[in-house]
Structures are given as structure tokens and as C-alpha cells.
């Protein structure tokens, strides 16, 4: 005879589960063909019925007394109890197919990226021919969102990096009595490398992810399809404005970040080493050739274009479900930061004779 509540939440209680288990195990030893009386059970849900059914070895015991509702629950369980079909097994053939899928995916990425780049070139030509039809409002909106709203954070990060770098360098340089060279080191490192890189990495995280998520959500809500149906070219209206805004905003932000970092470095060298700002500025002009600045601006524009294209690429590849949205955004940020660093290394190799 069974008593009490046989529902999922009650069974899951650790103490009652243990006692039920031990009692039933004791019963099984004695006489499996005993009489079962369920009529005193307060509540029997499907999980409880399933548990009884499994305990009975998935067949009706010789004698069971039940209420009608309990009987129908048990009958449903008995009718629908089937083994879970096994998940698809991994075979050598399956592994080969998975490899093929992987290769196709890489191929798809490359083809999509080429198509995006080509489309961007075509769209730029179209812009060149008929500038009055271009989406200027979109471009200025993106310029504001990517560029202007990023000014505080890039300035803060740049300034702090400048302070930290100047402070650490001053400790090392003092050992050699080469205090004045801090201007050369800071000027070269910040203007040529760190300023553009910092700005690019910050913007890749900030605006690259936003672009991917934006376009991805448009896919999820079928806005992309709606645009296509209206005959509006998404390359011209979605990708090109972002690419243009990014490649315009990026060099400006790089210069802005560099200036903030130099200010931080100037402040730290004044405080730690007593180099006056006037001397710092004068020495900076002598230590760093102007070509370094052009190099920095040039590669920032390339970084900006890369970030925008990668973000759009991943955004357009997102499938209409939420998981794909998250994966796409992560992949976009990781890829664009990696690409920025790779391209920066490439620039360093190609322009090794410029401005040094």
C-alpha cells in the first residue's frame, strides 16, 4: 500500500527519495507479485506514475488497486513509455562529412568576404557617379555613433596608458641616465603603434560588435528580407555607410587617442622626471618625423575598413535564431581584433624604412 504524494517535486526531495528507494528495494527481494494498493495516494503525477511503472519492470503487476484517474495516468505512461532513440552515432563517414562541412564553411566565409569587398567597391563607384543619391544621413549617423560617442572612452584609456608607459619607462631610463629619451620612446611608440592600435581595438569591441548585432537582429526580425523585397540594395544602404563612417572615424579617433596618451605621458614625465611640457613638445617635434603620423593615419583607415567589413560580414551571416546572434557577435569581435593586429604587423614589416 502506497501513501502520500507521488509527484515530481515530492519525489525529488532527497530524504524521501532515499527512503522510497530503500523500501522498494526491500520489497523487490520478497515477492514481486504482491498486491499494490494506490488508492490512498494523495497525488500521483506522470513522473510518479513513470517511477512506479519502471519499478514494476514496465509491466502491470498481478494485482493493482487504483482510482480511475490513477489508472488512466498509469495507462498513458504504459502506452507512451518508449526508449529514447539514440542520438546519431559518430562514424568515420560522419567525421569525413563533418570535415567536408568545415571546408565548405571556410569556402563560404572566403566567398562571402570577397563578395562583400567587391560589392563595396561597386557601391563606392556608384557613390562616385551619383553622390546626390548616397545615404548621407546614414553615414553621418554612423559617424556620430562610431566616432563622436567613442571620444570619452578612447581619451580616458589613451591618457591612462600614456601615464603608465611614461612612469614605467622613466624608472628604466633613469638607470642609464637617459631621462631625456623618454620623449623619443613615448613619441615613437604612441604615435606609430599604440595610438592606432588602442583606438582600433576599442572600436572593434565597441562598434564592431554593435554593427554585427544590429545587422544580425535585422536578420532575425526579417528586416533584411523586407529591404530586399523593396529593392533596396543592402550593400549600398547597410554596408557602405558603415564602412565609410568607420574608415573616416578611425583615423580621427587614432589621432585623438594618441594626443590623449601623449598628454598623459607629458604629465607623468613632468611629475616623475621634471621634464617641462614645453621641452616635451619641442623634443617631440625633433624626435618623431611627420611621416610617422601619416603612417598612423593611413593604417587606422585600413583598420576601420577592416573592422566594418568583418562586422558586416558576420552580421549578414547570422541565422534567424538567438544563439547564432551571440556566436556571430563574439566571432566578429575576435576576428576583427586578430585581423587588426595581423595587419598592423604587416604594416610594420612593409614600412620598416619609413620615418625611423
Amino acid at each position: 500500500m502506497l501513501l502520500g504524494r507521488w509527484a515530481a517535486a515530492d519525489l525529488a526531495d532527497r530524504a524521501s527519495w532515499a527512503s522510497v528507494q530503500s523500501t522498494l528495494r526491500g520489497l523487490r527481494g520478497k515477492d514481486s507479485a504482491g498486491v499494490w494498493d494506490l488508492r490512498q495516494i494523495q497525488r500521483l503525477d506522470h513522473t510518479g506514475a513513470q517511477f512506479l511503472w519502471n519499478t514494476w519492470g514496465r509491466q502491470w503487476p498481478a494485482e493493482v488497486h487504483t482510482l480511475p484517474a490513477q489508472r488512466s495516468t498509469l495507462e498513458r505512461v504504459a502506452r507512451f513509455s518508449v526508449a529514447l532513440p539514440p542520438p546519431d552515432r559518430q562514424t568515420a563517414w560522419g567525421v569525413l562529412l563533418a570535415l567536408g562541412v568545415w571546408v565548405y564553411r571556410i569556402e563560404g566565409h572566403i566567398a562571402d568576404a570577397l563578395r562583400l569587398l567587391g560589392q563595396l567597391l561597386i557601391d563606392n563607384l556608384r557613390l562616385w557617379r551619383a553622390p546626390e543619391k548616397a545615404p548621407w544621413r546614414d553615414i553621418s549617423g554612423h559617424l556620430y555613433r562610431i566616432g563622436a560617442t567613442a571620444l570619452p572612452i578612447t581619451a580616458l584609456v589613451g591618457f591612462l596608458i600614456g601615464v603608465v608607459l611614461a612612469y614605467l619607462m622613466s624608472q628604466q631610463l633613469r638607470q642609464f641616465g637617459a631621462d631625456a629619451f623618454i620623449v623619443n620612446i613615448l613619441g615613437m611608440a604612441l604615435i606609430r603603434e599604440l595610438g592606432p592600435m588602442l583606438a582600433a581595438i576599442l572600436i572593434a569591441g565597441r562598434s564592431g560588435s554593435a554593427i554585427t548585432a544590429q545587422i544580425g537582429v535585422m536578420r532575425v526580425t526579417e528586416e533584411l528580407d523586407a529591404m530586399k523585397v523593396m529593392g533596396i540594395a543592402r550593400g549600398f544602404r547597410l554596408v557602405m555607410p558603415r564602412a565609410i563612417a568607420m574608415s573616416v572615424a578611425m583615423p580621427l579617433l587614432a589621432v585623438w587617442t594618441t594626443v590623449a596618451a601623449l598628454l598623459g605621458g607629458m604629465l607623468a614625465s613632468d611629475l616623475v622626471m621634471g621634464l617641462t611640457p614645453a621641452y616635451f613638445v619641442a623634443a617631440l617635434a625633433k624626435a618623431v618625423q611627420v611621416s610617422n603620423l601619416w603612417l598612423a593615419v593611413g593604417k587606422s583607415a585600413v583598420f576601420g575598413l577592416l573592422i566594418a567589413l568583418i562586422a558586416c560580414h558576420y552580421g549578414l551571416r547570422i541565422k534567424p535564431n538567438t544563439q547564432s546572434l551571440g556566436e556571430g557577435t563574439t566571432a566578429s569581435v575576435v576576428t576583427s581584433i586578430t585581423m587588426v593586429i595581423l595587419v598592423d604587423a604587416l604594416f610594420a614589416v612593409v614600412f620598416k624604412d619609413v620615418g625611423i
Binding site: 515530481a8 513522473t47 519502471n54 498513458r76 513509455s81 532513440p85
Partner: protein, 260 residues
């Protein structure tokens, strides 16, 4: 015994500093075993009422009592054994397979053995008319009708006495909608569920509900079996039930069951 008791409910939303009152002194009682349809125009607060019953909104004034407890206690741990909700879009967890979605409330209890959980899921999966072969699929791979069925199986996995449905047949083709209605009616009968649904679909209302509550003018206008609701004289009731679509759907009522 009353499963849901709503007394003098006020629902108020504050947007941009302006209070908008959705419900004002709303009373509604739902008894055990009923299949109640809540109907009303767009923006009349049907879904808000459903969310109040679920404890997802807080009453500004008045009280909502579900199964003898205030509705805000409903969302505490173990809620799945008290109430099941079928969301309009299914709200399946997209990172989980069908099996994991349905098993989720059971597994959260932490103490049930895996084979028992799996068996319970397979039973529920078949009770809602799905093939066991779908157990390993992801929600993104399912059709709209299948998503609803999986969501229903998930809502029922703990055998809650109260089932809430938000537009159960929206987005289904007529064939699937009919099949889903039949499924709901059989589950209602077999499991002795109390069902509350919000719907616009007149066929569903005529086919399923034992009682209809019309929400308009910030309160429950009329709350009675469908024949009495149609006889009620109010502009909304006239337009909703006796408009062109309403009259066509009402033909269903006149025809004897089983007639072609």
C-alpha cells in the same frame, strides 16, 4: 474550489511619467476544471491579465490569488508544478534540444535519476502528439506547430493543475490549429486541467471554451458561457462575435457535431 481569484484588480503602467490604467476594479474567478477564454480588443489588457495571473506583473491595487496563494509567490522555486504557461512564440530555450527543453524543470529538481527524467519526457512528448525521433532536434529546426507542441509538453512536464495559453493557435495553419485544439481539449479532459487562454481566434473560442470572459472598458464586461456572451448587448461584443467573421464561425455552433 477556485483556482484563480482576482479581486478589485488595478493594473497601472507608468510610461514617460504618465500613468495609464489598464484594469480598474477587475473581478474574475476561475473554478477548477474550467476552460476559460479571455477575449477583448487589441490593447484591452488581456495579456496583462494573463501576466498578472502568472505573477509577472504586480497589481497596483487589489489581489490576485492563484491556487490559494498570492500570484507573486507563483514565480518562486517549484513554480513549474503549480502552473504551466504556453507563450505565444513558444519561448523554447534555443540553446537546448527538445529533450533538454522539456526535461529542464525536472532536472532543476536535481535529485531525480536521469533515466526516469528521460522516460517522463518521452511520455509527455507523445502525449502532445510528437514523434520520439524529434527529441534530439534543436528548436531552430522545428516548424511553428511543433514548437507549440514542444512548449506545451514543457509546460505540462510537472503536471501543473493550471495551464495558461497565450494565443495558442496564432501562427498555425487551419489544419494544425484544429489539431492543436483537439489536443488541448483531450488534455483538458484527461488531465482534469484548468485552462485559461487568451485568443483572438473565434473558432478556438467556440470549439474549446466552457466559459468566455470579455475584457473591455478596463474590467470584465461579461463572464459566462458563450451563448450568453453573444446575447450580451455591448458594442465590442457585437463587433467581435457578430461581425462577418463572427457569424461565419458561429455556423460551427449550429451544426450538429460530426456534420460535414
Amino acid at each position: 474550489m477556485n483556482v484563480v481569484e482576482i479581486r478589485k484588480l488595478w493594473s497601472v503602467f507608468r510610461t514617460a511619467g504618465v500613468d495609464s490604467v489598464v484594469h480598474q476594479d477587475l473581478d474574475l474567478t476561475i473554478a477548477q476544471g474550467e476552460l476559460l477564454s479571455i477575449v477583448g480588443g487589441s490593447g484591452s489588457g488581456k495579456t496583462v491579465l494573463l501576466r498578472q495571473i502568472l505573477g509577472l506583473e504586480t497589481p497596483a491595487r487589489g489581489s490576485v490569488t492563484v491556487l490559494g496563494h498570492p500570484a507573486e509567490e507563483l514565480t518562486h522555486a517549484g513554480a513549474a508544478s503549480r502552473v504551466g504557461m504556453l507563450f505565444q512564440q513558444g519561448a523554447l530555450y534555443s540553446a537546448f534540444t527538445v529533450l533538454e527543453n522539456i526535461a529542464f524543470p525536472l532536472r532543476e529538481l536535481r535529485n531525480l535519476p536521469e533515466d526516469l527524467v528521460r522516460d517522463a519526457v518521452m511520455v509527455k512528448l507523445q502525449m502532445v502528439g510528437l514523434d520520439p525521433a524529434h527529441a534530439h532536434k534543436m528548436p531552430a529546426d522545428l516548424s511553428g506547430g511543433m514548437v507549440k507542441r514542444v512548449a506545451l509538453a514543457r509546460a505540462l512536464i510537472m503536471d501543473p493543475p493550471l495551464l495558461l495559453l497565450d494565443e495558442p493557435t496564432a501562427g498555425l495553419d487551419p489544419d494544425r490549429a484544429d489539431a492543436f485544439c483537439t489536443l488541448l481539449r483531450s488534455l483538458h479532459r484527461e488531465l482534469g486541467l484548468t485552462v485559461v487562454m487568451v485568443t483572438h481566434d473565434l473558432d478556438t473560442i467556440y470549439e474549446l471554451s466552457t466559459r468566455v470572459a470579455v475584457v473591455a472598458d478596463k474590467h470584465v464586461l461579461v463572464d459566462a458561457p458563450i451563448q450568453d456572451v453573444i446575447a450580451f448587448d455591448h458594442p465590442f461584443v457585437r463587433e467581435f462575435f457578430l461581425g462577418g467573421r463572427g457569424l461565419r464561425a458561429m455556423e460551427l455552433l449550429r451544426q450538429p457535431p460530426g456534420a460535414v
